[in-house]
Amino acid sequence: MSALVIKNVTKRYNEVKSVVDVSLNIEPGERIALLGHNGAGKTTLIKMILGLVKPTSGSIEVLGVAPGSKKARLLTSYLPENVAFHGSLTGREQMRHFAALKSQNTKKADELLEKVGLSHAMNRKIATYSKGMRQRIGLAQALLGKPKLALLDEPTSGLDPISRHEFYDIVKDLSNNGTAVIISSHALTEVETKTDRIAILSQGNLVANESLEVLRKSASLPILIKIKASDKKINEVANSFENKKLNSNRVNGQTLELFCKQNQKIDILGQISAFGNAIKDIDITPPSLEELYRYYSTSKPKDSASLEEK
């Protein structure tokens, strides 16, 4: 049984469409990154999966039952974006409260606090916590009760790189135990290789839903090749690429920048090596994650409709 099935879901607030005809399946143990700008519809989609917001049309099934039903709530966990727990409680009190709500014993609460690295601070009031520490409480409560589906809304914003690394280790543990995990983020660089699949929302439309490799391939963004040669030879090198009609740039008299497609790369490299010692250095830069993300998130929803159907 799929952990989550979303079929043609649309959410309209008055006249504004927040989520448009989104379909998405997630299997147990899968880790999905849900990407999009602020206001792209990520949080709305997550809240519909939780049953907090009703879709205008379409259907959602969580582990075979309706979102927000008792069974769904027992098996789903949620880490809200920017959650601020009551400052006058200690981390331990807050965590034990959540454990009691999920019918877990207090020992489990303490264990999870230790797992997220908060055991040293659990008897302090939350008001004294740093943002990262608060986020860890949020994460700890999302681990309660062996969830089958975990929805983490911008979990890594405000975390330093080391905490982020630890966070993804915990996510990996979760998915190894069969939990399907959705992580929303506004930056592809934050999730990159830590997820199995990347879904991108743009103005409420699902414009991509593939693994990173497939996304790279189908976007076919240009690769940048930087060639450095002596100022006498550089013109010769540049002229030899004239017939290929590539986008090129001359930088500082010694360097040539070429933009080419993936399938032209080897060809061009062969041509360059023919110049032998005249070439001082070569740099190859594949499209960055930022560029890839920008490509998908700014692509028009209509193009994506055809992409989705196949």
Binding site: A84, S88, E93, L101
Partner: protein, 271 residues
Amino acid sequence: MFTIAKIEILIARRNMWVTVSVVLMALFSVVLTLTGGAPTGTLGVDPLIIATSSITTLSVYFIPLVALLLAFDAISGEIERGTLALSLTYPLSRAQILLGKFIAHFLVLAFAIGVGLLLSGTLAVIKNGGATGLSFTPLLWLFFTSLMLGATFLGLGYLISALVRQPSAASGLAIVVWLVFVVLYDIILLGALVGDKGGFFSDNIFPFLLVANPSDAFRLLNMPEMGSKELTSGISAAGDISGRLGQLISLFLWPILALFLAWLKLKRIES
């Protein structure tokens, strides 16, 4: 539900405002018990009756204020902090969240009022040199009706909290509601009464409008039935028309109605 109540009590225990109101309530009760006898001297009237009359007058203003200030943050604060959405993803109904908070706040109120009245009772016994000749019924009655009054304004506080969703706006509206119920309402009724000069309004509408306000129903219910009626004749004469039953119904229905409306509103929040 009790899990929610437990955590809310933990929060309330560390709430400055709760501490302040418990201390104030105790202080006022003590002062009013000690000085309450002054106008009548030591003659005749049970000192506890005098004390409860004074404490009633104070409670009409104080208890609604405490209750509203406990409640205004209950829902709006959780919306702002983002914890309401989180609570709603737990296997827990909205009614349970509301009732859990209500139980906790109600117990806090009961504690504040209880401490005050207990002190008041103890002092009266000491002053009297023993419990003989004292009637504790007015004190218990005051305790009970104060709780109903408090419950009403807790419910109204939740309703406000769910309606405006922002703690700052909710606190402002809470003060407005307080002013209307315990101050302005009476002034307007009084104005109408003066303007009417004992006509149809005074005899047939006014008494019911009076008990319709929970704070006035509370005031009437705590009027001494005998003895010092002369002190309060105007209002209690009007109170006779609606009767004890009307007053009790008003004070009982208000908390239920307010909580019910708050629940209706909470149910419709898509957070």
